[in-house]
Amino acid sequence: MQSFGYRRPGTIDEALALLQEHGDAARVLAGGTDLVIELRNRWRRPKIVIDLKRIEELRPPIREVEGRLVFTALAVMSEIVADERVQLHFPALAEAADVVGSIQIRNRATLAGNICNGSPAADTAPPLLVYGAEVVIAAKNGTRRVAVDDFIIGPGKVDLQPTELVTSIEIPISATPIAAAYTRMTRRRGTDLASITLCCGVDATGTTRLAYGSVGPRALLVIDNSGVLADPAASDEAKAPVLASMFSAASPSPKSMRAGPEYRVAMLPVLGARALRTAIERQTRVP
C-alpha cells in the first residue's frame, strides 16, 4: 500500500482543524470500504487519512433529534437495517441499506460515505431523495444543511469543500408520512452493483416521489402531484403514461458494462410500477 499519515481526532473540531490544515491532501475515513480500495489503487495520494471513528460526538450513530432521525457519519448499513425507527418510518432506506454489498461490507460501509462518494449507483441515494433527507456539513466557521438533492452533483462530485466534513444525514419524521419502497436491477441475486436503483414513495395527499439512479450521472428525484400514481383505485393503464413521463430524464451510459441503455430504459417503468405498487400497499396499511 502507498504510504500516508494517519490521524484519529477525538472531536469534530479536531477533525475540522486537520481538514483546515491539509485540505485536498487529506481523506476522511469513516467505513473505508471505498477509501481503502482508492488508496490501494493509488487513485488518490493523500498525505493523511483522518479516521472519524474515535469522535464520541458521532455516537450513538443513529438518534432521534427534534422530529428528525439523525444518521451520523459513523452510521453503518447494518445498523440502519436493524434500527426499528428506520424500519417503522423509512423502510425503503432499510431495504436499500440491506443490499449494499455483503454483510461484511454492511458492517463497515456508512450511509454518509455512500452519499459523499457521489456514485450514480449509490443504493441509498434514491430513498434519501424520496424521504427528503438533508446533509449536515460542519466547517470551521459553522454548520450548513443541504438537501440531498442539492448535495449530489454528478459522478464523484458532491457539494462539499475539502475543509468541510459531513457530520450527519438527517430525515424529517413527517406528520404526513411517505410510504415508500426500494427496488433495483442487478446481474445476479448475490451482492452486485445495481444497473438501476429506484425508490418510489406516496403520501396521504396523493403526491408521488420517485427517485432513480444508475441511469445517468446522478440519482434523480421526480415528483408527481397529479394524484394518479398514488391512487390505489387508478388502473395500471392510467398510470403507465404518467409513470413513463417521470423517467424522461434518464440517460443511461452506452458504455456501461452492467446493462445496455435500451434495457435500462425499458426496465425503469417496470421497476417503477413494482415499487409503486409496494408503496401503495404500505400507504394503505398506515392507519
Partner: protein
C-alpha cells in the same frame, strides 16, 4: 483387519488443515529472506515498446532491481505446453492486455508496488485484433511472427491450427429437414479464489520453484529448459492449489520468477492480484456453426460443424482444446455422416488455457441447442429425440474411437425422471434437458510409490495435485483398502518433485483413474512381497497364497496383511515398498493421438421460471446425473458434481469477459466479473450418480470432475425457451439477453 473403504464417505485428507487455517498455500509459505516482485504492464492490448526507463523506480528505497527483456538471454527464452512461443517477458511488443513488460524486485511489497508505478515505458499503441472476424481478415496483421511458428499452411495467417474430422459424406446425405444456426460462447475466466502465486529460490547449483501449479512435473521441465539445468537440479514444490479448474495447469510466470531469483541470489516471490490472474489465463471464446440433417422421425442423418476457437496471443493449449473438443462435436449420437472443421485462431488477448470441460461445453452448447431446435421444428419431444439417437452401450459414436463405455440411456432416463419430464408446469415455467460427453485422457503416464511401514501405517507418494477434487483422499482409500489398514494410518505425500515420482499431469478428471491405478499397482507390488513373506513364514508355496484387500489367504487360514507384515519384518523393522505405474498408450494413427480412456457422460435437466418483464431467469430445480462408474467417495463425488453444476450455471447465466473497443478487458476483478454466490443457487439442486462399476479405474471408477458442467448452458437455455419461446444463441443468459430475445420473438 477387513476394511471397507470403497464407496465410503471418508473425510477429506487435509480437511483438518483446511478448517483450521493451517493449510499452507503458496502465499502462506514462510520462506526466509524473500524479496517481493511486482509486475509492470501496459494498459493496452497491443503495443510496440519503444523504451523502458527504470532509473526512477530503482531509486525507490528497498528496490533491488527492475527486470526487463534486456536482462534476459538472447534470443529471448520462449516456452509453452504445446508451442514454445511465449516469452519469459514481453520483448519488443506486447500482445495482450496485461502482458508484463517489466518486473520490480524489492525488499518489501510496498516498495515493489511503489516502484512498479514509476517504471516509465514509452510505447506506441497498435490496433489490436480480438474478434474472430478481424483475425481472419486476409489483411489482418499477423499476431505471431512466422519465425516463432511451426512451418505449415497457416503460418502466414492468424489460424494457429485447423483440423478436419468426420466420417461419411455429409453432402450426399438425404435429410427431411436441415437446421442451421451459430452459437456463441464468450471468453470466461477461471476465478480460482487463490490467485496464482510463485516463489523461486536458488538452491546450491540448482533452483527450487514453488507454484500453485496443477502439473509440477511439467513446470520442472519448463524451468530446466529455460535455465539450461538438468531436471535433477530443478525442484518444484507445488502446495495444494486453492482451486485450479484448469487455470493452473501449465507454467506462466514461473520462468520469469526463476530468472529473477537467480539474478538476486535470493528467494523472490510473486503473488498475483486477482486482476493479474484474470489477465494471465482465460477460457477460449467460441463461435460454432452447426448444420444438422434429420429424418422426419428425428433420426440424425448428418451433423456438420465449423468451430472457431478464439485463442490468445500465444498457442498455450489453444490448439489441443479446439481439437479435442471438436473431435466430439457430434456427441453421443449415432450419426451416419459427420463433418467437423475446427480452427484455433490467434488474437491479441490473454492466452487461452485449459478450463474445466476443455472446450466441450462450448461445442455442446451448440449441438444440444441445435438439437432442441430440430426437435421443436419436427414436433418431437426433446427427451425422445435424444434417446432415439443415443448410442447404446458398446456402440461407437465416433468410428475408431472408444465405444460408449456406459449405459448412457440409463443416465438420461434418470435425469428425465428426476425433473419430472412430461408433467405439466405452471405458465411462465419451462424445462430443459441436455447431454454432455467428454473424453477422458487420450494418453497418460502416472507413477506411484507406496511404503508400508513397520507399524502397519502407510505412505503414498504421488505427483498429482489435490486442488480440491480430493485426490489425496481417494489414493488413501485405495491404499487402506488394499493393505487392510484404517484410513487414519495413511499419509499421502504430494507436490514435491524431489520426493514423489513422476506424474504427467492433473487434468481431464484423470487422477482417480490413472493415478488411482498406479497406487493400486503399487499396492499390488506390496501384496506380492507380502505373499513372499507369508510363504516364507508359513512354509507354503507362493502359488498357494493369494493376497487381496487386506487379507492373506493361506491354504488353511486367512491372516490380515498387517500380521504378516509385522511378522515378516521382525525385530529389525523396516518397510515394504511398492512401486506402481499406469499408462494410457498413444495411438499414433488416431486423430487425437490416442483413444479416450473413458468418457465423462452427463445429463442435466432443469426447471426454470422467467420473469416476463425483466428476463430474469430463476432455476427452480436443477438435476445432474453422471455415469461415474463407481463413487469411490460419494461425498467428494457430490461435492465435485454440485460444484461443477453451479459453475456451469455461472457460465450459463452471468459470466463473460468484456473487452472494450481497443481489446482491453474491462471487467478485471471481482466487482464486474460475476460468479454465483450462495444466493444464486437453484431452488433445488440434486446430483445423482449412475454406478455400474464399469470404468477403467480401480474398482470400476471413471473420472467425474467435469461432467456436470458440460451441458448446463443448453439445458438452461432450453428451459428458458420452453418457458418463454425466446431463443438465445449467444451466452450468457443474462436478464438483458433473455429480455431481448423475448422481445425479438414477438
Amino acid at each position: 483387519m477387513k476394511v471397507d473403504n470403497i464407496g465410503a464417505p471418508a473425510q477429506r485428507l487435509g480437511g483438518i488443515d483446511r478448517v483450521t487455517g493451517h493449510q499452507r498455500y503458496v502465499a502462506d509459505l514462510p520462506i526466509a529472506d524473500t524479496l517481493h516482485a511486482k509486475l509492470v504492464a501496459l494498459d493496452c492490448a497491443h503495443a510496440r515498446i519503444l523504451s523502458i526507463d527504470t532509473s526512477v523506480a530503482e531509486k525507490v528505497p528497498g528496490v533491488v532491481f527492475v527486470m526487463t527483456a534486456d536482462d534476459l538471454p538472447t534470443p529471448m527464452p520462449r516456452f509453452g505446453p504445446q508451442y514454445q512461443d511465449r516469452p519469459v517477458i514481453a520483448e519488443g511488443t506486447t500482445n495482450y492486455h496485461g502482458e508484463p513488460v517489466a518486473a520490480v524486485v524489492a525488499e518489501t511489497k510496498d516498495a515493489a508496488e511503489e516502484a512498479a508505478t514509476l517504471v516509465k515505458v514509452e510505447f506506441e499503441e497498435l490496433p489490436a485484433i480480438f474478434t474472430v472476424e478481424a483475425a481472419l481478415d486476409p489483411a489482418a496483421e499477423l499476431i505471431q511472427d512466422p519465425s516463432i511458428r511451426r512451418p505449415g499452411p497457416f503460418t502466414e495467417t492468424n489460424i494457429l491450427t485447423e483440423y478436419h474430422f468426420g466420417w461419411g459424406d455429409v453432402d450426399a446425405m438425404d435429410a427431411d429437414m436441415v437446421v442451421e444456426h451459430t452459437y456463441a460462447w464468450p471468453m470466461q475466466t477461471h476465478f480460482a479464489i487463490e490467485p496464482h502465486g510463485y516463489i523461486a529460490a536458488p538452491d546450491g547449483d540448482g533452483i527450487i520453484v514453488w507454484s500453485s501449479i496443477q502439473h509440477p512435473y511439467q513446470l520442472q521441465k519448463t524451468v530446466a529448459t529455460v535455465l539450461g539445468m538438468p531436471l535433477s537440479k530443478v525442484r518444484v514444490i507445488a502446495p495444494d492449489p486453492g482451486g485450479g479448474f484448469g487455470g493452473k495447469q501449465h507454467p506462466k510466470l514461473e520462468p520469469l520468477v526463476a530468472f529473477m531469483a537467480m539474478r538476486a541470489g535470493r528467494p523472490v516471490r510473486l503473488i498475483l492480484s486477482l486482476e493479474e490472474a484474470f489477465q494471465g489465463v482465460r477460457r477460449a471464446g467460441t463461435e460454432v456453426k452447426v448444420r444438422m440433417g434429420l429424418k422426419s422421425d428425428g433420426t440424425l442423418v448428418f451433423q456438420d460443424y465449423v468451430n472457431r476457437f478464439l485463442i490468445g496471443a500465444y498457442g498455450d493449449t489453444g490448439d489441443r482444446i479446439s481439437a479435442k473438443a471438436s473431435f466430439l462435436s457430434a456427441g453421443p449420437y449415432r450419426t451416419p455422416a459427420v463433418r467437423i472443421v475446427s480452427q484455433a485462431i490467434l488474437s491479441h488477448t490473454t492466452p487461452t488455457h485449459p478450463y474445466r470441460g476443455f472446450g466441450i461445453p462450448q461445442v455442446t452448447w451448440a449441438r444440444e441447442s441445435c438439437l432442441d431446435e430440430a426437435a421443436i421444428a419436427l414436433g418431437i419431444d426433446r427427451l425422445e429425440i435424444r434417446l432415439h439417437n443415443l448410442v447404446r452401450y458398446g456402440e461407437e459414436h465416433v468410428p475408431g474411437d472408444t465405444p460408449a463405455d456406459g449405459d448412457w440411456a440409463q443416465t438420461v432416463r434418470k435425469a428425465a425422471e428426476e425433473i419430472h419430464w412430461g408433467t405439466p408446469l405452471p405458465p411462465g415455467q419451462g424445462r430443459g434437458i441436455a447431454i454432455g460427453v467428454k473424453s477422458g485422457p487420450t494418453t497418460g503416464l502416472s507413477y506411484a510409490t507406496v511404503r508400508f511401514l513397520a507399524d502397519a501405517s502407510v505412505m503414498v507418494f504421488s505427483g498429482t495435485s489435490d486442488m480440491g477434487q480430493g485426490a489425496r483422499t481417494i489414493f488413501a482409500q485405495i491404499a487402506a483398502e488394499e493393505l487392510g489398514v484404517s484410513l487414519d494410518r495413511v499419509a499421502v505425500v504430494m507436490g514435491d518433485t524431489a520426493v514423489v515420482p513422476y506424474d504427467q499431469q492433473t487434468s481431464a478428471s484423470r487422477s482417480s483413474v490413472l493415478m488411482g491405478n498406479a497406487v493400486l499397482d503399487a499396492c499390488r507390488d506390496i501384496q506380492r512381497k507380502i505373499r513372499a513373506m507369508a510363504a516364507r513364514l508359513h512354509d507354503v508355496e507362493e502359488a498357494e497364497i493369494t493376497v487381496d484387500r487386506g487379507v492373506v489367504h493361506l491354504p488353511d487360514a486367512e491372516l490380515p496383511i498387517v500380521d504378516v507384515l509385522k511378522a515378516g519384518l521382525g525385530r529389525m523393522g523396516g518397510e515394504v515398498v511398492g512401486n506402481g505405474e499406469a499408462r494410457k498408450e498413444a495411438f499414433p494413427d488416431h486423430p487425437l493421438g490416442g483413444t479416450a480412456l473413458f468418457f465423462e457422460f452427463n445429463c442435466t435437466a432443469c426447471d426454470v421460471a422467467v420473469d416476463p418483464e425483466t428476463g430474469e431467469v430463476t432455476i427452480l430445480r436443477h438435476v445432474t446425473v453422471g455415469d461415474v462408474g463407481l463413487a469411490l467417495n460419494p461425498v467428494q463425488v457430490t461435492g465435485q458434481d454440485e460444484g461443477a453444476a453451479i459453475m456451469g450455471i455461472g457460465h450459463a447465466l452471468m459470466e463473460h469477459l468484456i473487452l472494450d473497443d481497443k481489446g482491453r478487458t474491462r471487467n478485471l476483478g471481482a466487482i464486474d466479473y460475476r460468479i454465483p454466490t450462495s444466493l444464486d443457487l437453484p431452488g433445488e439442486l440434486h446430483s445423482f450418480s449412475i454406478e455400474n462399476a464399469d470404468g477403467p479405474g480401480p474398482y470400476g471408477i471413471k473420472g467425474i470432475s467435469e461432467g456436470s458442467l458440460l451441458c448446463t448452458a443448453p439445458a438452461v437455455a432450453g428451459a428458458v425457451r420452453d418457458a418463454t419461446g425466446a431463443v438465445v444463441r449467444r451466452l450468457p443468459l443474462s436478464p438483458e439477453n433473455v429480455w431481448r430475445a423475448m422481445k425479438e420473438k414477438t
